[in-house]
Symmetry: C2
């Protein structure tokens, strides 16, 4: 039986049986599923990313293409193949010891003393990382997160208000699910935005209330554009529930100044909005002196504002870049205990966040300190990552801006650039003929010619009649990389002039 | 600033600011959140589990209680502290090497050759486990899962139909979200059930359609009870979408025979139902000769049935017991390509399952084979776990059944027993006076007196007027453990006779 099955492996039962499948007997077709889910759009892993994977497979098989490698600049995934941003050694050493504690004795001298001590401390608290933890996250690690927040902001934080998560996305999805009480509920979303927000709103049948960021002033956030969006939303019967702020911005990389943050908190007070602060790029700063990061938790605490605040952080970005561990946390402030209990009940249905992610959060908020054995290497590794990102961002922004019809804000934070591209009437026409958004048409041509995968601005939202794309600043060999972008752009302009 | 903050750490901003919070200015209160979420109930981590955690903290602080340790029998968490079911060494050795690949050379001879080879193979495919993988899961690991299914069933399986997940729960939640198209949509749920199903249905505003399992015949599943439930549901305007089968059963441990499985597939054909097969305990069999496991994938394939089938598996149970990694998968059969593409789009919004969980799935479906260096230890470890579970299940079922007013089906599978307890009118009265379900009242008294945390039957559903509780068969020192249960029960009976 097994032999036969393996021989006929290409004969898939689904194929087979669908032949016997009478249409009126199909309980699982697109028109039979939750219609809200059909509305979900997530461009970061959309058409272009899927096509990039196909190209990667073709190259593996040895097919000849116009390029010898696919460069996935569509997603902030620092450690992916081809980018290979090294993992922080301390993080991985601690993780390896929590996976197999006996290693400390089996490989004496291989692990620094502070790594062994950290792993033992975690083991004493957690026991096996193969066990479910507290649904809210390991208490010791939540204490470390609270301490990290207190040292960052100079205001108290409490472990009971911290929820460890499987990356920031899981927390955002939970909160949006909580805040959407009926189909008239709306949430203010920056445009351009990270599409997680509109995707999750679609999934939970809520309405995005878009407010425009101002590219001409470095993608700044203005109170005027938000109040205008609120007025428009109320006019068409939408009930605003929350304000999403991404700081540092994604895809823009912009950083909010203190005055704007205070005004935003006051605006939330005035309009009774929950403030959802996506701060996952808080440690990706290219000019921290001129553009420092301030958390909304700090501003809300300074103002003693009653605004309910949920702040999201992640181990996927920053210098950690541990996307695959799925780790992060959110902190609740000004949230009543009964609502916090509801959040606990909801996360408990999912049992607990991945322990590998929780351990990663611990390493992020408790890195080696000066004087500890692992400090020198940790300092060297993190300085190198910061410097490389700063340098690439500068080179790319400068050279892209020098291209005809391209302007690019040099972002002070995050991992991306979001250049604006002018497209000729001829190019727009060709795009429409191909049934594509013009910037998607541009991005597809870029992928087909260079193997570079970016995300068209239409996936993030942009002003009517403007076109952009988002690309990461993570690629090594910036010369070769930018060179390819330049050659492609000049060729594209020529082709459609 | 920081110093002051740390000194005043007990002064929490939420407390502070709530004093200035005018009631009409509270955007985040229980009556302002998604009302569906208030309906979510998840007894496995409910009132009893929370109280057990408090007792654990008190014991840590050195408080004196009637017991010296808390035993968490409320959840199938084999590796938790106090149970300490050892992790499979092969799994952890591979995981440690994927965390820090340099270890293979830094600690020569510490890792068996097959472990090193497996870790290298995974690294060559995945690269860093700190990177996001394909949203559906690492292709190589999905191929291994497909091969595992083919060897188990003798029918073809295809990697494109496999979705790796963060434990089975994540997949169940996704599928229920897809199947609930409006508030009249219903899903057939066994009673007793694992409360994940009703919790997820509440969250997505769907209706459970309960069908009763028959305790008198070893918790068997009957077509009659399901057709009766379907008729009742249709009468009150519920539209049945899917049938949930948990095999081996949770909390019952019952195993379906081939004839029943065929009849269930035919029933799904007749009533146009999607079949959701929760098979996470497929490797927890106490009498495999008499009660073997057969997958629904195999039955559907044998019958060449067109029934859409989603089969769930997990690394949290079986002999793996790796709950904390959050790993599992589901397989789609008879699901059209466009629906599969929608599932892909939805999982891509969450980026990818935890890599530690994916690596764990690989170790579960590709364990060491006879002749490989790690085989002997793997065999010894897994045999020991199987034997201990079988022995404990037998001892506990026998001795609990011997108690006055207790009857307990000796389950052939899974990790639990679900004894029925007769409670005197006086006990029921006392429970009502305390505002508790009688079995919750019993379980609370058990926790208060012995430190043993179980889940009352009311958390899983049971026949009107019957009372049960679920406890795991994972506790070491079965004599001491059962002894405590016996002494408590006899005392409780005496107290309320």
């Amino acid at each position: 039986m097994v032999q036969l099955a393996l021989r006929s492996c290409f004969l898939r039962p689904s194929r087979l049986s669908l032949r016997f499948f009478s249409p009126n007997m199909r309980p699982l077709t697109l028109d039979a599923v939750n219609p809200q889910l059909l509305e979900v759009q997530y461009a970061v892993r959309g058409e272009l990313a899927i096509k990039a994977e196909l190209y990667r497979d073709q190259l593996k098989k040895g097919d000849s293409l116009p390029f010898d490698k696919v460069i996935s600049s569509n997603i902030g995934n620092p450690q992916q193949k081809g980018l290979d941003q090294p993992a922080i050694t301390f993080t991985r050493q601690v993780a390896a010891l929590t996976e197999w504690p006996a290693l400390a004795d089996l490989a004496p001298g291989v692990f620094p003393a502070d790594v062994v001590a950290r792993a033992r401390e975690l083991y004493a608290e957690i026991g096996s990382i193969g066990a479910y933890s507290h649904s809210q996250g390991v208490p010791l690690i939540r204490q470390s997160v609270a301490k990290f927040i207190e040292e960052r902001d100079g205001f108290p934080a409490h472990p009971d208000d911290i929820f460890l998560t499987a990356g920031a996305s899981a927390g955002v999805s939970l909160l949006i699910n909580m805040l959407i009480t009926d189909p008239t509920s709306g949430i203010l979303i920056p445009i351009p935005q990270y599409p997680l927000y509109t995707a999750t709103l679609a999934q939970h049948h809520g309405r995005p209330i878009p407010y425009l960021l101002d590219e001409s002033s470095g993608w700044s956030t203005s109170i005027e554009s938000i109040t205008a969006a609120l007025a428009a939303a109320r006019k068409d019967g939408t009930v605003p529930k929350a304000l999403v702020i991404i700081n540092p911005g994604n895809p823009t990389g912009a950083l909010l100044d203190a005055a704007t943050m205070e005004a935003l908190v006051r605006l939330c007070e005035e309009h009774s909005l929950v403030l959802l602060a996506d701060e996952v790029y808080q440690n990706n700063l290219h000019a921290p002196a001129a553009h420092p990061f301030t958390s909304f938790k700090k501003v809300v605490s300074q103002l003693r504002s009653p605004v309910p605040l949920v702040s999201f952080h992640s181990i996927s970005k920053g210098v950690s870049g541990e996307c695959g561990r799925r780790g992060g946390y959110f902190e609740l402030a000004n949230v009543p205990a009964d609502v916090r209990a509801l959040v606990y009940k909801l996360v408990s249905v999912g049992l607990c966040p991945p322990l590998a992610g929780q351990i990663g959060v611990d390493s992020m908020v408790r890195p080696p300190r000066a004087g500890e054995p692992s400090y020198a290497l940790w300092k060297k590794e993190t300085d190198t990552i910061h410097a490389a990102l700063r340098e690439r961002t500068h080179v790319m922004a400068t050279r892209l801006s020098a291209l005809p019809g391209v302007s690019c804000v040099e972002s002070p934070g995050a991992l991306y650039l979001f250049p604006k591209i002018e497209l000729s009437a001829k190019a727009v026409e060709a795009a429409r003929a191909a049934g594509k958004e013009p910037d998607a048409f541009y991005a597809l041509a870029l992928l087909d010619e260079t193997g570079i995968c970016v995300v068209p601005g239409s996936g993030f939202g942009q002003k009517e009649g403007e076109w952009h794309y988002r690309l990461t600043c993570l690629c090594p060999g910036v010369e070769e990389y930018v060179g390819k972008l330049e050659r492609f752009h000049l060729g594209f302009v020529k082709k459609y002039e």
